[in-house]
């Protein structure tokens, strides 16, 4: 209870930029509030009611009206453009980000790294490297908020949201749920620990779990019987998933969608929402069967097949076998810039 800080710590690359816009707005607000306050006080004193003087009637002034319409409009357009530019920066994760996956539920945060390391109500990240957090909720809407990073993203129960940041200063920072989510909303808090890259690498190494997310995903892929249809040699009842991730997919109604996280999740939970051209709607739903954590692992597995030279999705006769997936380990992944641009065109 000793000091009275006015700002949260700045621990990400955007924190300074957000604070700059904030300070600009504080200046504008102070200026106009003082202007109005001083004018009111000055007029109230200077033109106070006295018996000698009567009020001078003034209709108005179109010139003044234009001035005090145009000047605020101009200032607000500057704020708008500044805010929009910053927003685009904050909302769009760079391609080379380290990926982390988060599942929110009443009332805890669970995170998993591609290497399989898991945390609860705690998130470790390195400095000097963008981190992209892919988030989903198991129940109601939550919100992922790290004040020191100046980032926030609602966490929805029906689709993946992403948030990214690049931490700058090692330390421990608050993680808050900022969307009211029921009884223990204020207890749905955690810590974000920012580490130097070498410390982070060591931390990851020490936390090695039984297998990477993709490896767990592959097990689930077999366990749930996905292999029955989604193998090149499975009689082509379902699309081959090799090389699928990040590529365009042509649907029955001729729409083309990109096979991203949300597409894959929807295809598992609600298979009839988007039928790939040339296939029958025969897949059963896995709603209520696959948990959100498992879903992320299955997606990681499908993603891990992205770089394999799979045949085009709509080609029914695919002779290639799925090789045993080489599981990307995190250290490797941290060094390589993953470029997953949609390449090639679909037939």
């Amino acid at each position: 209870m000793q000091s009275l800080p006015l700002f949260p710590e700045q621990a990400s690359t955007v924190a300074g930029q957000v604070d700059a816009l904030y300070l600009f707005l504080v200046l504008i607000t102070t200026f106009f509030s003082l202007l109005i306050a001083i004018l009111i006080i000055y007029f109230a004193i200077k033109y106070r009611r006295t018996p000698e003087r009567t009020a001078e009637q003034i209709h108005g002034s179109t010139l003044l009206e234009i001035v005090w319409t145009v000047i605020p409009l101009g200032i607000s357009m500057v704020i708008f453009l500044w805010g929009a530019a910053l927003y685009f920066h904050i909302q769009r994760p760079p391609g080379n980000a380290l990926e982390v996956y988060g599942v929110a539920k009443q009332w805890m945060w669970k995170f998993e790294f591609p290497g399989g390391q898991r945390e609860i109500n705690s998130l470790h990240v390195p400095t000097g490297r963008p981190v992209k957090v892919t988030l989903i909720s198991q129940d109601v809407i939550h919100s992922f908020f790290v004040p020191a990073f100046r980032v926030k993203s609602d966490v929805l129960p029906n689709r993946y949201m992403t948030s990214w940041f690049e931490a700058t200063t090692p330390g421990t920072y608050h993680l808050f749920c900022s969307q009211y989510c029921g009884t223990k909303h204020s207890g749905m808090i955690g810590e974000v620990t920012v580490m130097k890259p070498e410390d982070f690498a060591a931390w990851l190494e020490s936390g090695k779990a039984e297998g990477s997310m993709a490896a767990s995903g592959e097990k689930l892929f077999q366990q749930y019987g996905c292999t029955t249809c989604h193998r090149p040699d499975s009689g082509a009842r379902g699309p081959n998933l090799e090389g699928l991730y990040g590529r365009p997919v042509r649907l029955q109604d001729n729409r083309v969608v990109i096979a991203d996280d949300n597409y894959i999740r929807e295809s598992v939970l609600n298979p009839n929402a988007k039928i790939v051209s040339g296939f029958q709607p025969i897949m059963p739903t896995f709603q209520g069967v696959v948990s959100e954590e498992q879903m992320l692992q299955i997606i990681a597995y499908i993603k891990s097949m992205a770089d394999q030279t799979g045949q085009p999705l709509n080609n029914r006769s695919t002779p290639t076998q799925i090789r045993d997936t080489e599981v990307p380990n995190v250290q490797q992944q941290m060094q390589q810039d993953q470029n997953q641009k949609p390449s090639g065109k679909q037939p």
Partner: protein, 545 residues
């Protein structure tokens, strides 16, 4: 007040709307807009103090970071019911249903509103809604937040969501009827000579708010019905487990609830225009600009709803459009503030109680409006969204703005409504206490929000305690500022000096009839030959180039 000792003491008129008829029946079956306004006054004052008790308990609870006073569930119910009470049962009906109901028919020179029976029905519907809402509160409460976000509200909490939704649904219908009545009255029942260009700005502002009431409120009704259907019958609309979309709820909810902010603030702006002109003895500066800015706010207010959803998963491009439009809606509000300030220029200013509230409004609304620019700035909103910054911002607009305007208007028209004067020195003191208490309560919350304290937290991190203690201290001062008027207004009914027909020497038709007015407002239908606010003779009018 100023001229109290000049001439003969004013006397109460022999017959007026208060003594025209006696007995509980004459009140409960009245079709007189003035009596209905008084019924509303009692109802919403009750809800204001209920909401105020919740607010006090919230501030008391937040004195310590670990929340020793209440269980988290209890705290969650507290802020939900504070919000529901204050918004749907106090702020939305405050100026329109009390002051507007009383004064607008008189301002346009009419004998009553266009549909007196619908007006009475709207009060009964309001009370039915109030009954449901109170029943929901005493039978276990609601803990969804006043925003009822799905799927939390539709599938997860175990409290009286449907009861409360029904209560709000009824309150919404009551405000649709009030809005309808105002619109028809303003169109059809103006006195001879009272052209649209001569309408008092109070009428313009309530007209604009009425447009929003009748166009926006049905969407709230639909949203609440869909919510109840999903909660009661598991029809999938918002809950993804049932095939719905939770963000759809937010779109529908804010499509009403953002314009509802303007339902709350526009009538308050109308009150300020009346008070500032009267106590500066000046025409309003730029009448047309002040009048049309109300309409502009009502129109633009409908296309900014998604600025509540910048981090809720809308596309970056639609976020840009909504941010841009949000700045557009800020401009007419700025125009009003500048015009009110300019109205004081070369005026003859007297700082009586209503004027103190009006000046308080201008200052606090300016801060409230300008901090809206922070929240509309996309990149900055990501950080301050759903923090105490938002709480501080809308309390500056809603309490610093609207409640100040409501109290200012209540003081201004109290002599007209009751025929009695309230004790001026105590009233001035109360206005000052309210102003100080308000700022001490809510200014620290801007800093809390930027520091990162999320809203709706029953427990918080210890570094936020200093600011929370300051805020709670302010709230106790603010409470005094709100209790005082309730006391001296009641006192004035019996002991107040007789006001006389026009204690402020104000223009406007309401001051040309007796205080309190007769049941039919005017003995002879007035004819209007002047612009509004014709303080001073026409020869003195100068036009600034």
């Amino acid at each position: 007040m100023s001229t109290a000792a000049q001439t003969v003491k004013p006397v109460m008129p022999a017959r007026h709307y208060l003594n025209d008829n006696y007995g509980i029946r004459s009140w409960l079956l009245t079709k007189d807009h003035k009596r209905i306004a008084v019924l509303y006054l009692f109802s919403i004052t009750f809800f204001f103090f209920i909401g105020g008790i919740f607010a006090s308990l919230i501030r008391l609870h937040l004195l310590t970071p670990n929340g020793e006073l209440f269980q988290a569930d209890t705290y969650n119910k507290m802020f939900t019911m504070h919000g529901v009470n204050m918004i749907f049962f106090f702020l939305i009906p405050s100026v329109p249903a009390v002051l507007g109901n009383f004064i607008i028919p008189i301002m346009v020179g009419a004998k009553d509103l266009a549909f007196p029976k619908i007006n009475l029905m709207s009060w009964y519907i309001f009370m039915v809604g109030a009954f449901f809402s109170l029943y929901a509160m005493v039978s276990g409460g609601v803990d969804t937040g006043w925003t009822f976000y799905t799927p939390l509200s539709s599938g997860f909490v175990h409290t009286n969501v449907i009861l409360m939704a029904v209560g709000i649904l009824f309150a919404g219908f009551s405000s649709i009827f009030t809005g309808l009545n105002f619109i028809v009255t303003v169109h059809r029942m103006r006195a001879p000579g009272l052209t649209w260009g001569r309408l008092p700005l109070m009428v313009w502002a309530n007209y604009a708010a009425s447009l929003i009431m009748i166009l926006g409120t049905p969407v709230l009704a639909i949203t609440l019905i869909l919510l109840a259907l999903e909660r009661g019958f598991h029809i999938g609309i918002f809950d993804p487990k049932l095939g719905g979309d939770p963000v759809l709820f937010q779109h529908m909810f804010w499509f009403y609830s953002h314009p509802a902010v303007y339902i709350m603030i526009l009538p308050g702006m109308g009150v300020i225009s009346e008070i500032v002109t009267c106590f500066s003895r000046k025409r309003v500066f730029g009448y047309a600009f002040v009048a049309f800015s109300s309409i502009a706010i009502a129109v633009f207010g409908f296309v900014v709803w998604a600025h509540h959803m910048f981090v809720a998963g809308i596309s970056v491009y639609s976020a840009m459009v909504f941010s841009l439009l949000s700045y557009a809606v800020a401009i007419p509000s700025a125009v009003k503030v500048f015009n009110w300030t300019a109205t004081m220029y070369k005026g003859s200013v007297k700082l009586d109680t209503p004027m103190l509230y009006a000046l308080g409004f201008i200052g606090l609304f300016t801060i409230g409006g300008l901090t809206g620019l922070f929240l509309a700035a996309l990149g900055l909103d990501v950080h301050i969204h759903d923090t105490y910054f938002v709480i501080a911002h809308f309390h500056y607009v809603m309490v610093g703005g609207m409640v100040m305007a409501y109290l200012g208007g209540l003081h201004f028209w109290w002599p007209k409504m009751t025929g009695k004067l309230y004790p001026e020195p105590v009233a001035k003191l109360a206005a000052l206490i309210t102003f100080i208490g308000f700022n001490l309560t809510f200014f620290p919350q801007f800093i809390l929000g930027y520091m990162g304290m999320p809203r709706r937290y029953a427990m918080y991190s210890p570094e936020f305690q200093v600011l929370n203690v300051l805020s709670s201290a302010g709230a106790s001062i603010l409470a005094v500022g709100f209790i005082l008027p309730a006391l001296y207004f009641t006192w004035s009914l019996k002991y107040g000096e007789v006001a006389g027909d026009n204690p402020y020497k104000a223009t406007g038709l309401e001051w040309q009839t007796t205080s309190p007015p007769p049941t039919h407002n005017f003995d002879v239908t007035p004819v209007v030959t002047e612009d509004p606010y014709h303080y001073g003779a026409e020869e003195e009018v100068t036009v600034v180039p």
